[in-house]
């Protein structure tokens, strides 16, 4: 069952995995970030979202931004020890572990994203596609969401609305070879998610997204 969302935001950063220390965004939203937007509105273990097409509605624009960030993440081990012993020093000192990192962000983005869901094996007997379709449509129409969806990073929240394809703004008139792009992560082994890639092409502002099991998607 297909759905179409129009999403827009002031900034976006769909980080290229090969340039993630000083983040550089892809030119357009990745299928995996697009999937996360659908999931922010509705997701249950019984369903799985697939992105089928992305339409780029605004010209691709860039902006550079540098921020102070932390060098390390919270330590699982010291948290565990402190929890067991009931005392200990936790915490990261911002001025000792500061890093200045630049991000190359997208500006003023707007996309029309086409997605559909399939039922997974976790679906129970009471679950039906029609039920979830109704639920999704209802939520998207009312602006309801599980958490506010975002464009790659949480500080770049986005507006979303159920789109009417016929009345919507046209996609930009531009062709672009986007090269190899992250498709999504393969979570079949949850302890070691592995990335999948595909060759993305924008034709007249439209990017067709192949199915996950097709030959075009490679690990």
């Amino acid at each position: 069952m297909g759905f179409c969302l129009e999403v827009s935001g002031e900034f976006a950063c769909f980080t290229r995995p090969e340039m993630k220390v000083e983040r550089v965004s892809y030119d357009v939203i990745t299928p995996s970030a697009a999937r996360a937007i659908f999931e922010a509105i509705l997701w249950k273990p019984a369903i799985e979202w697939h992105i089928t097409e992305i339409e780029v509605l605004n010209p691709i624009k860039w902006m550079n931004l540098r921020r102070n960030e932390m060098e390390s993440i919270a330590s699982f081990r010291s948290a565990k020890t402190a929890m067991k012993e009931g005392s200990g020093l936790l915490g990261i000192y911002a001025d000792e572990q500061r890093q200045q990192r630049a991000s190359l962000l997208l500006k003023d983005v707007r996309y029309r994203i086409h997605g559909e869901f399939t039922m997974t094996e976790k679906a129970g007997p009471e679950d039906s596609a029609a039920k979830f379709a109704d639920m999704f449509r209802r939520r998207a129409k009312k602006g309801q969401c599980f958490n506010q969806p975002y464009l790659g990073c949480r500080e770049f929240s986005c507006d979303f609305a159920l789109a009417d394809e016929e009345d919507g703004a046209p996609a930009i008139n531009e062709d672009r070879d986007l090269g190899f792009m992250l498709y999504d992560l393969d979570y079949s082994d949850p302890s070691a998610p592995s990335p999948l890639f595909f060759r993305a092409r924008m034709d007249n502002g439209r990017i067709a997204i192949p199915a996950k099991d097709s030959e075009e998607v490679r690990g």
Partner: protein
Amino acid sequence: MSLNNRYEFVFLFDVKDGNPNGDPDAGNLPRVDAETGQGLVTDVCLKRKVRNYVGLFKEETPPFEIYIKEKAVLNRSNQRAYTALDLKPESKKLPKKEEDARKVTQWMCQNFFDIRTFGAVMSTDVNTGQVRGPVQLNFARSIDPVVSAEHSITRMAVTTEKEAEKQSGDNRTMGRKFTIPYGLYRCHGFISANLAKQTGFGEEDLELLWDALINMLDHDRSASRGEMSPCALYVFKHDSPLGNAPARKLFELIDINRISEGPARDYNDYQVSIREDQLPSGVQLIKYLE
């Protein structure tokens, strides 16, 4: 008690003759959107202030300790005593190790306000170590374009003997500071009730967050900041955890307009108008500060 309502908020603050957020890429000039000239303040800059305020106010004790600290607000030598809570695992089916990881993450959420609020990455080989916090902040943006002014300042002393010798005892150095004469900034924030459930962010934490937004600028005085003040905090409270209206529709109800001629130099140069009659059903507007 965790939250049962989704929230959005609009936080307005202003700066007079100060630099609200320096840009490390531009020699610490105030951040601006190069295309529109509007000033920007990053999400992380505001979160830092929330953390500092809570750290100061709650004196760095669990359950309101702050994980990402700044040295100035804490007593380093203190050994914190934590209460190790015996948590019941959520599901018996999970493998032992993942259960363990979940426990530790939950424990961190319970002790640290900032982890509960903004989330944290505590990654181990199992991916349960990552917490998404319920509170999501966007960049703050000034209503009008801002103008940065550069000021040269002099110092009547030098740091090293060598410098003194070079100047044959004149002992004067020059420095620079940047200010914007005035800027009114608007920041949008989101609070997800569903994510609040996952981290245990409750009603008391929410009150503390509003408190922090209203008071944090008064505890963040420095030579570079100038006079920063909170101007308004408007909170949209939805009846349901999923929300009752799109966030954008709510933000659009609040308009900020110039009501004076010439460059703005005060909050009184602006008028905030709220179309309260158009508030969607199931959404309540709370004015914590006006």
